[in-house]
Amino acid sequence: MGDITKENTIFKPELLSQALLDSFKKLNPLCIWRNPVMFLVEIGSIITTLGFLAGLFFKTGEPSWFTGAVSLWLWLTVIFSTFAESLAEGRGKARAESLRKTRTEVMAKKLVNPESKEKFELISSENLRKGDRVLVEAGGIIPGDGEVVEGAALVNESSVTGESAPVVRESGGDRSAVTGGTKVISNQIIVRITANPGEAFLDRMITMVEGAKRRKTPNEIALEVLLISLTAVFMLVVINFNSLITYSVKAAGQGVPVSITMLIALFVCLAPTTIAALLPAIGIAGMDRLFAKNVIALSGRAIEASGDVDILLLDKTGTITLGDRQAVEFIPLPGSSEQEVANAALFASLTDETPEGRSIVVLAKKKYQMRLTALPHSAKSFPFTAQTRLSGVDIDMDSYRKGAITAITEYVKNKGGNVPSELEEIVKSIAKSGGTPLVVCHNAQILGVIHLKDILKGGIRERFVQLRKMGIKTVMITGDNYLTAAAIAAEAGVDDFLSEAKPEDKLRLIREKQQQGHMVAMTGDGTNDAPALAQADVAVAMNTGTQPAREAANIIDLDSNPTKLMDIVEIGKQILITRGTLTTFSIANDVAKYFAIIPATMITIYPQLDILNIMHLANPYSAVLSAVIFNAIIIPMLIPLALKGVKYRPMPAEKLLMYNLLVYGLGGMIAPFIGIKIIDIVISMFI
């Protein structure tokens, strides 16, 4: 699947030919009915085609090449529209196909008695039901979505995520979810199946990607209301136009009534065909772009909602900061040197395998060029315990310890040492800056303090700046105390934070913000995030997350990268912007089409109206045909834009509106004048 996600070209030859085939299948009226505007265009094409055929045998008022050409281009208008949709779907289908390949039927070892893994029966994965427990051994394929209830294993999930490095899946905690179709590499686990066949994660992904079950989103329906109403009005305009012409021919005593072909041409040109043709493609392509970023939206609504998100809740750990704290500085107390502190800290940490401990060693070696790599054999290490709350080593008579201020104070006092008055000051200042102070002592003497710090992920600050420009407020959630949280929040540049947060606090915060009318997005992976995820408007679950978290979410991030939300927001906005700009463009086009068709149809009655023929089109037939052709070819010309989406520029709403109005509104008004004129020049070379 990896190769597909990287692919960025729109027009792949094999996709193109398939799409072309599908676009003809979609001409079936029962199928095109879903798009009422294009349905009417198709009916128009049928009528003009009949007119053309009739013109071959009977004498009609207009040249049959004209009726024929208009019919042809009307059919092309419909086909371009079905082609756009097929093309968007085709890309999704190709992805779905590759996903489906991974969903092979496997034989599962279903435990007969859930309590014992000794007895199992072999059954097909198709027959597994929710609640069944299966044993999966090294080299085996996990037969369905589920939760590890016993054991731990390395699992290769590349079939779903495209990521080849295996991940740990273990019972209990936040890494218990497994996906059907992934492969166990080592150890054995017992999995409780949580989805019936056909309802599994992969199946949902496939249906979403295929666009088969894609329901129109509320916003799409609202836009359709507008488009269909306008189309209805234009139909009446054309009927009214016919009456006006009939009356005027009588009143003026000259001229010819307007033909059915002309009326239908006028209708199709006025109807917002451009946006109506591309509307389905825009939505499907949006999902597809998300998928290309390894994000699966479980509903189109969620993507649209993400465009509206104005508050983003982020877990501190793993999202804003790297998972672990790191030592950044050694601060000596009066009477000792930095070197001494570093030395003592190094001794106290050499046997400490925690990430913090390792970071102390790294700092001591890097900054103070300490060479010591191993302790003498006589050394005795004291790992951190809940009772002592400190760790360190004893080397012969020397003891080195590090720990929280209270623990070290107690330790030193027991040894008869005293606590320098400056210590408190230093410890406080570190805590205030968001760091964690670790006090270091050598025997009964306190030497200094290690400054442990949360390290921000690279580039995170810039991303928050970008989010702010998009109008999204970031809220950091952390279990840290208020002071630490405040310091990290300030450093990362988040707008707000929630400290000492428990799961119910998250839920409450989301409810509160929603009550105030905000749209809240949240990323999470743990089971305790599930309630909050279910409450959030846009809930992104990490693919590494637990099953409850994934079920509560409406978007799954296969890369498990929490800042992915920014991409999701961007694509959500892009979909809306593309819809809005193409609607504006489509309607703005009508002005020029009026100026092409109206004078052409009226000129025989009132030659004075030639003044409205501001494009100086050659003759009435080529004028009408040019408008119809322009109306048709603008659709394929805009397919790339519809599939890629209009670029979203983070800038104030007012400016963005002005920009898009100028480009697509004013541009949409001017472009067809030029386009129609050029087409007219070409046509008049032949007739």
């Binding site: 009005v233 016919n242 009226m602």
Partner: protein, 578 residues
């Protein structure tokens, strides 16, 4: 016309618009207080009266209605008004206060007239002074002048409440709103206006028609000599005030505000224009006050005023340039056909733009005689859906529907699912807005098509040719948009036109009205979304321009063919000197 005169006209119009603008805030604030139930300086007198009305009619004051109850009450109220007026018209012959002994209206005309006054249209297929008794004028037509105006204001206020209430099921109490509209707003100002009009010479009496001998006798074509004329009398001033202030426009006399007893001096002329524009413009401020951000109201004002000024300028330019054919005949000076000399071009054009821009339909000049472009402007102002600034109440709720359509597209363009004033615009709001915005246009297209292809439709056209087309178009534009003014030259008092225009008026009034209430109900239920930096600002210049463009584009796209074959062709023919 000299440069001096143009300079004078423009100066007067500018002064007028400034005075109008200065009055918006006080009246808008006053209306806000009235509808919010706050104390105003009139409360000491009116509160007891108001309570008495509630007590007498059994209205519970604090009972709130959801949109369905509100709409039911409103429709019931208007149906009753329609029936009562219909009966008065039908039986005026046997009712008192009928010094001329006019017979009852024929049923189709009575129906048309009753619908016309109940829908705030005041389309008149009859001539007041030769058809309607004093009783009909005062207790029939004038009463509806008040009530139809109040109905429009109620819908507007209900919609405003929809925007400003949060997660609320109700949108106000219709009976209370309608009482307050009449009692606190329409009656007090109408009294003052009527007194001012009387001071300028507008008549107010129940006298029989006066007979005066002519200074010079007059020979008719068949040789009869006529020595005296009949001067119609009546309680004109009281009706004139509400006719303008409620954007009704139904004249006491057939000549409407061109008649010296309705509109005797340039001063009354400007006063009447001011009355026409006052409530529609001030409601934009009321809207802003209600939403807590007056800039939202001023943005609507700016949109409307911009369009108003443009249309005014074009019509003035067209009328000033006049008709080259007439000029060739040696008539110098500005184009005065159909205009009253005491108002001049400036006073006539300002009136024409105001009366067509609002749904008033009162006239002080003959719109039929405007230059083709001038007539097209008048027609366009109506065809845009009556939003520049539109009728009392109806103008506001229509432009709000336009604003929702504008917000919808603009919102998409900035990447948000659209919201207006903190309320999400969803499928239901779009449906209702589209109904409000497009209904009148659809009616015009359908009815004009019907009239053009039926004998009954065409046979009423007195001026064959493209001007006849313009007249027909104007008639249905006027009826569907509840304006009421007319290009003369169309014999409208036929069964065909009486029924068709009545249907157009009813649908054009109540479909958008009920849609606005439904939208109010749906909006009120929604929660409020606070604006952020990603929110589309609807009080800034970009949105003002965009809203104006949306209004113009919708109108232009719907009526471009009709305009081309009507006024534009006429203009070409005129310029060609044919």
């Amino acid at each position: 016309m000299t440069a001096m005169e143009i300079f004078f006209d423009i100066g007067v119009m500018l002064f007028f618009l400034i005075v109008l603008t200065l009055l918006i805030k006080p009246l808008g604030t006053y209306m806000t207080y009235v509808y919010q139930g706050k104390r105003t300086f009139l409360s000491p007198i009116l509160v007891p009266l108001e309570n008495l009305i509630y007590k007498a009619s059994g209205i519970k004051q604090d009972e709130e209605m959801d949109w369905k109850d509100y709409a039911k009450a409103l429709l019931l109220f208007n149906s009753l008004g329609l029936i009562v007026l219909f009966l008065i018209l039908l039986f005026q012959g046997i009712l008192p206060l009928n010094p001329r002994g006019f017979p009852g209206f024929p049923p189709d005309l009575a129906f048309n007239t009753a619908v016309s006054f109940v829908t705030n249209t005041n389309w008149q297929a009859y001539s007041g002074e030769t058809t309607a008794s004093y009783l009909t004028q005062m207790s029939g037509l004038s009463v509806q002048n008040f009530l139809s105006a109040a109905t429009g204001m109620c819908i507007a206020i209900a919609l405003i409440r929809g925007f400003t209430r949060r997660t609320s099921q109700t949108i106000g109490n219709f009976w209370q709103d309608v009482t307050k509209s009449v009692l606190y707003i329409l009656i007090p100002i109408s009294i003052i206006a009527a007194l001012l009009l009387v001071s300028q010479g507008v008549i107010q009496n129940f006298d029989p028609y006066a007979n005066s001998s002519l200074l010079q006798s007059f020979q008719t074509q068949d040789g009869q000599s006529i020595n005296n004329q009949i001067l119609p009398m009546g309680p004109v001033a009281s009706q004139e005030a509400i006719k303008e202030f409620g954007t009704n426009g139904g004249g006491f006399f057939n000549a409407n505000s061109a008649h010296p007893f309705e509109n005797p001096t340039p001063l009354t002329n400007y006063l009447e224009i001011l009355l026409i524009l006052l409530i529609p413009f001030s409601l934009t401020y009321t809207f802003g006050r209600f939403t807590g951000n007056t800039r939202q109201g001023w943005a609507l004002y700016a949109t409307i005023m911009m369009l108003f000024t443009i249309f005014l300028g074009v019509m003035y330019w067209s009328e000033y340039n006049g008709n080259p054919i007439v000029q060739k005949l040696g008539v110098t000076g500005s184009y005065m056909e159909g205009k009253e000399v005491r108002f001049g071009i400036g006073g006539s054009v300002l009136f024409a733009v105001s009366t067509t821009g609002t749904s008033s339909g009162a006239v002080n000049s003959m719109h039929d005689s405007l230059t083709p472009i001038g007539g097209m402007i008048a027609m366009l102002l109506i065809l845009l859906g009556e939003v520049v600034p539109g009728g009392v109440g109806s103008g506001l709720y229509t432009i709000l529907a336009f604003a929702i359509v504008a917000v919808f597209i603009a919102g998409l363009m900035i990447g948000r699912t659209p919201e207006y004033l903190g309320k999400k615009i969803e499928v239901f709001e779009m449906r209702m807005s589209v109904l409000i915005v497009l209904t009148s246009g659809i009616l015009v297209l359908i009815f004009v098509s019907i009239a053009l292809v039926t004998y009954a439709g065409i046979s009423s056209i007195l001026n064959p040719g493209q001007h006849g087309l313009s007249e027909l178009l104007y008639a249905f534009a006027s009826a569907s948009n509840n304006n009421g003014s007319a290009f003369a030259g169309l014999n409208a008092d036929t069964l065909f036109y009486n029924i068709l225009t009545a249907i157009a008026m009813l649908i054009g009034r109540f479909v958008p009205g009920v849609a606005a209430l439904a939208m109010a109900g749906s909006l009120a239920k929604k929660k409020y979304i606070p604006p952020g930096i990603g929110t589309l600002p609807t009080h800034q210049i970009t949105f003002v321009l965009w809203l104006a463009v949306v209004i113009l584009i919708v109108g232009a796209l719907t009526f471009f063919p009709a305009m081309s074959l009507g006024p534009i062709v006429e203009h070409m023919i005129m310029n060609a000197g044919q």
